[in-house]
Amino acid sequence: MTTNQSQSEADTTVDARGATCPGPLMDLISEVRAVDTGTVIALLSDAEKSPTEVEEWAEKSGNEVTDVVDQGDHNRIHVRKL
């Protein structure tokens, strides 16, 4: 899912802009380790494959991607820890 406007608010933000794959995903996983269940994390990434990688990881790990927002020079990916 990719939208142009954010449909949800995040509880916390991980700014991984500038990092190459799989850095953004690993930064996200570190944050998922640290937060409580139900927390929505916004991952900011300009790595091209981040939306796909995060979607695949979330599906396998039992978490949920709630929003992918195209911000022009980067994506804002919202993930809820389940």
Partner: protein, 381 residues
């Protein structure tokens, strides 16, 4: 007036930089226009890749260790102290043992990476590793006395030093057991945190079939959540549990506390311009090697090339010339694929790695490089 160049960290990046600068600025040093000071908290320079071979009984830890004073040009002042903070306004470094702060006009942070196994419960007690002298020796003793069982190599933390090393260990332990006719007494499993067997897609595509054809189990999307040393199990946050007889882990890494306290970047990693290696938002501060957030692997070769670039930039700045040298992301890496063969990759920000078919000649090239490393540290190779 003397210009002070301060380098914090005496690993590969800091040492190559100090030696290259001493060579480039020899005339200015002789004329007391420039003073180069290398700050290091220990007495020795350590070549960490030796530890992988220590685990297989092929090298001793002492083979990777020499007094820093023997490796660093005599025109460089070495101070064995720990830098804890920076006063950017006064351009001074705060030290643990010295009463007076140390002045700098140009500062290079080369503080490297360190292990942080405490981030995963049970990991420190329940696993072995080859990312330190003691760890590599303990792993060697365990390997030599095992009667068979399940060896699990788990990449717990990324980024980590030498991204090729987990694959190298896995290929080497497989081959090491085959050479002894004992491979059928062991199962081997390799785990990686994301959907492929390595962070770099090209390396992953090359390595994946090689792992499987050697009957090495592969668990991807495996982020270790906890290790239970009593039951000898490792559990991932994705819900997979593995039983092991020997767990070899790549522990989580962190940067220097000093980087964090000096406000240079989160987690001990310095935010830098990936081409100029200047610290983002700070004047006259550079970072190189594992400490620098460039996007390239935390590898000695990257630190070496970055040190050369910063040496050129600093020499230009000292002479009042434009600093034109830039880092293009160049990294080279040997990858052992067994006890007797290896491949080689070279890549940068634009060009991906392309591993070639492993050869015995490349394995010997890696061993030869390990021997000649001391010339690299001295800035000669």
């Amino acid at each position: 007036m003397t210009e002070h160049i301060a380098i914090v960290g005496g690993g590969t990046g800091g040492t190559v930089l100090a030696n290259t600068l001493a060579e480039k600025l020899g005339a200015e040093i002789a004329a007391d226009k420039v003073e180069i000071t290398l700050f290091n908290d220990g007495e020795d320079h350590v070549y960490k890749p030796v530890w992988l071979y220590v685990a297989f009984g092929q090298r001793e830890p002492a083979d990777g260790r020499r007094p820093l004073r023997e490796v660093v040009d005599e025109r460089v002042t070495i101070r064995h102290d720990y830098v804890v903070d920076i006063d950017y306004d006064r351009k001074e470094l705060e030290l643990v043992d010295a009463i007076d702060p140390a002045p700098y006009d140009k500062l290079v942070v080369a503080t490297g990476a360190q292990l942080d196994p405490e981030r995963v419960p049970g990991l420190a007690d329940g696993s072995h590793h080859f990312y330190g002298e003691d760890g590599a020796q303990a792993l060697r003793d365990e390997l030599l006395t095992m009667d068979g069982g399940h060896i699990v190599l788990s990449v717990v933390g990324t980024p980590h030093m030498c991204p090729a090393a987990p694959l190298e260990f896995t290929f080497m332990v497989d081959d090491w057991l085959r050479e002894r006719g004992r491979r059928d007494e062991f199962d081997i499993t390799y785990t990686y945190p994301i959907m492929r067997v390595h962070g770099n897609e090209h390396i992953a595509e090359w390595a994946d079939p090689r792992l499987r054809e050697r009957d090495i189990g592969v668990e991807t999307v495996f982020n270790a959540e906890a290790v239970d040393p009593k039951s000898e199990t490792i559990t991932s946050m994705e819900g997979t549990k593995l039983e092991y007889d020997l767990l070899v882990a790549i522990p989580p890494h962190t940067g220097s506390d000093f980087v964090e306290s000096a406000g240079l970047g989160d987690g001990g990693w310095v935010d830098v311009d990936q081409h100029t290696l200047e610290a983002t938002g700070f004047e006259d501060v550079y970072a190189i090697g594992d400490a620098a957030q460039t996007g390239v692997p935390k590898a000695g070769s990257a630190a070496h090339y970055q040190a050369n670039v910063v040496a050129q930039r600093l020499a230009s700045e000292v002479r009042g010339q434009p600093a034109a040298a830039v880092y293009g992301g160049k990294t080279i890496c040997f990858i052992e694929t067994g006890m007797d063969d290896a491949t080689f990759v070279e890549f940068d920000y634009e060009r991906p790695p392309e591993p070639s078919e492993p050869t015995q000649a490349m394995h010997w090239s890696k061993l030869a490089y390990n021997e000649s490393y001391w010339l690299t540290a001295r800035g000669l190779l």
